[in-house]
Symmetry: C2
Amino acid sequence: MTSPDDAAVEPPAGTARPARVSSLVIINTGHGKGKSSSAFGVMGRGWARGWSVGVVQFVKSGKWNVGERKLADHLGVEWSTMGDGFTWESTDLDETAAKGRHAWELSRSKLASGRYDLLILDELTYAITYGWVDVADVVAGITGRAPRTNVVITGRDAAPELVEIADTVTEMRKVKHAYDRGIKARKGIEY
Amino acid sequence: MTSPDDAAVEPPAGTARPARVSSLVIINTGHGKGKSSSAFGVMGRGWARGWSVGVVQFVKSGKWNVGERKLADHLGVEWSTMGDGFTWESTDLDETAAKGRHAWELSRSKLASGRYDLLILDELTYAITYGWVDVADVVAGITGRAPRTNVVITGRDAAPELVEIADTVTEMRKVKHAYDRGIKARKGIEY
C-alpha cells in the first residue's frame, strides 16, 4: 500500500515520458512554520541514503540552530554558518551584508564543486531580500551547479526568479500559530 | 542576531502574558510537500534535546519510509508502523480499516502514557478521512494526553475539530512540483 501523498508523485496521465534531470531544486517558502524543519527532514533522508550532505545556514545563529546543528554533527553532515571563517577586511561595507555575501560565495563554491549529493541553503532568500546578493548571481550559481547536487532553499518571499528555476516549490502558510496566544518558541520543537 | 522567522515567535504586542501550556499540538496539513519531512525535522530537534520521541506512522509503508525509519532507528526513536503487531481476528471488518483503528488505539495509549516528550502521528488525518476512526475519539485522545507530551500530526485535509485543538497549524501549499514535469519521487529527497 502506498500513501495518498506518494500516489501524487507519479506522473499525471498524459505525460509522455519522465523529464530527465539528475538533481532537483526544492524551495520551502511562505510565512508559516516548517520551512527549515522540512529541509532538516530531507537532510536526514539524504543521510539515510548515504549521501554527501552540506548545509549553509544564512542569518540564523546562536541558540536558534543548536538542535539541527547537533543532529548534523551526529550524522556527519558538513555545516557552515554565515560568518564562519570570515575575515573582516573592509571598513566600507556593512559587516552583516559582507558576511552574507561571503556565505553565498561559499555556497556557490560548494554548488560547483561536485562534492555534494545535497546542499541545504537555509534562509538564503533573506540574503536576496536584504540586498546582500543579487538574485541573478544566485540563479547563475544554482543553474550552474554540479549535475549531481540536489538543492533545498528555505526562507520567506522566495524571488520569482528562484521559483522559476526550481523543480518543487512549497508555500508554508500559517493557519494558526501558538505565538498568537503568546506562547514563545519551544526548545526541541522550533530550535 | 536572530532570524526573521525567529522574531515572529515572540508574543505579539498587546498580549498580556504568555499562555501557560506544558506541551504543544502541531499540525502540518495541505496538499503540498513537506508535511512529513517537517515532522521528521522536529523529530531530530527533539532527539537533539534528549527527548523521548515516538513515531506512529499511519498508511505509509514499505519503501516510502525507509529513509526516516533508518534515521529514527539510528537516533533511538521508537517507531511503529500501521499494522505492526496486529493480529487479524475478524472476517467482518475491512482489514485496512481494522489496522488503522489498531494504530490509533496504540497512539492513544502512547499519548496517555506519559512516556514521551514528543509523539509524531504521521498521516493520522487519513485515518479520519477514510472513516477508520472517529474524529471525536482522536480529539479526546489528543486533549487527554499526558501534559508533557508534544504532538505533531501530519496529513492532508486536517479536520476542523483537529485544527481547533491545535496550537500551531501550517498548510503546505503546492506552488509547483517536479511531478508536474513527469519527474518521479526521488530516493533521499522524498523517502
